[in-house]
Subunit: 207 residues, 2 copies
């Protein structure tokens, strides 16, 4: 039975790094951006449009008029959205059934829950979070050259914006609260955590 570790994460908390390190430590596949590529291959949409849908907030793309009369454009947009959401679900389920893996984001915890409950896979749902202060620090340390002039205040705004999009996307897709500990098996607070030291220990939880 494949071990599948899903990782939800606050922006700047090191969730992606934990995912990569865990996958390396366990010698298993790691999927993040690959999901976008998978959706693009499953549908007729461009990478940018797919990204806008799965990394952003549904409600920015689709006006909240479902349930009322819909004009052709909105109807078409909803169909497109549904295609992408369906493709995302298929891609993630395929990845989980293919081999042991770590999947970051994209509501994978929710999408794979049934497979976990049925015993088709061994599912571990993680959520990674940290204090705003430590997330700003982490993001500032990792600024690109192009971001050299970004201030701590700008960075905090960006973190809040990305988190808001993630939360909205998660709630729209799952009708659950993003980051609510009851939806995950383990929540790690990385505020005081040295990831290099801790991840090999964390990996033993899944051995």
């Amino acid at each position: 039975m494949n071990r599948v570790i899903t990782i939800g994460r606050e922006f700047g908390s090191g969730g992606r790094e934990i995912g990569v390190r865990l996958a390396n430590e366990l010698g298993i596949a790691y999927y993040d951006k690959e999901i976008i590529t998978g959706i693009v291959n499953h549908t007729e949409f461009t990478e940018n449009y797919v990204k806008e849908v799965v990394e952003g907030d549904f409600t920015k793309i689709i006006p909240i008029s479902i349930g009322r009369s819909l004009d052709g454009d909105v109807d078409f947009q909803i169909q497109q959205m549904q295609s992408i959401v369906k493709a995302q679900t298929e891609v993630i389920k395929e990845m989980a059934m293919k081999s042991d893996c770590v999947i970051v984001g994209r509501c994978a915890d929710y999408i794979l829950e049934e497979a976990g409950e049925k015993g088709d896979i061994q599912l571990f749902k993680l959520f990674i979070h940290a204090s705003m202060e430590s997330r700003v620090k982490r993001c500032m340390e990792r600024r690109t050259e192009a971001e050299a002039n970004v201030t701590e205040k700008d960075m905090e705004k960006q973190i809040k914006r990305v988190d808001k999009d993630r939360a909205n996307y998660y709630t729209n897709y799952t009708l659950r609260k993003w980051g609510d500990k009851s939806n995950y098996d383990i929540c790690f607070n990385t505020t005081n955590m040295d990831l290099k030291i801790m991840v090999p220990h964390i990996a033993t939880l899944f051995c």
Copy 2:
């Protein structure tokens, strides 16, 4: 530097069992009821009164009249309460400085935070939770003979009552929200967890 693992826990989630197993696995001290004994030894109060204060809800014992004029009785009660809270703080700090240990409940995470930040101890703050369904199941399986007639509905009520007391006590003492994941290093959801299998793995996080 002593490793100190504090465990906050929802009633029926197996937090106590995790604490006992972790302490055994790591070969370190385990403190739970011993804190009550410690407070009794540090003060002039009976065990029952101490229990009522540290396991219940402050507001049931002390009318909310702090800041207004106090009559002698209330003033005296507040002094008693403060003695117990002070003794609890001292007992927990003494335990943490004495040797590696696991401390269950009693706001130990909050009490020891400063010592952790100053580097006097290596502090790991855990919170253990589970779905209501699994907690009711766990508690029903562990009923004593005297509780033979307790129904699932009764058990759920009892779980909610104990959790409410714990939440009130924690908030009154710390001004924080009990169970809020940002106050802990790791939150474990035991809903689908086999504690016997998982605790040896969890223990490696602290080695």
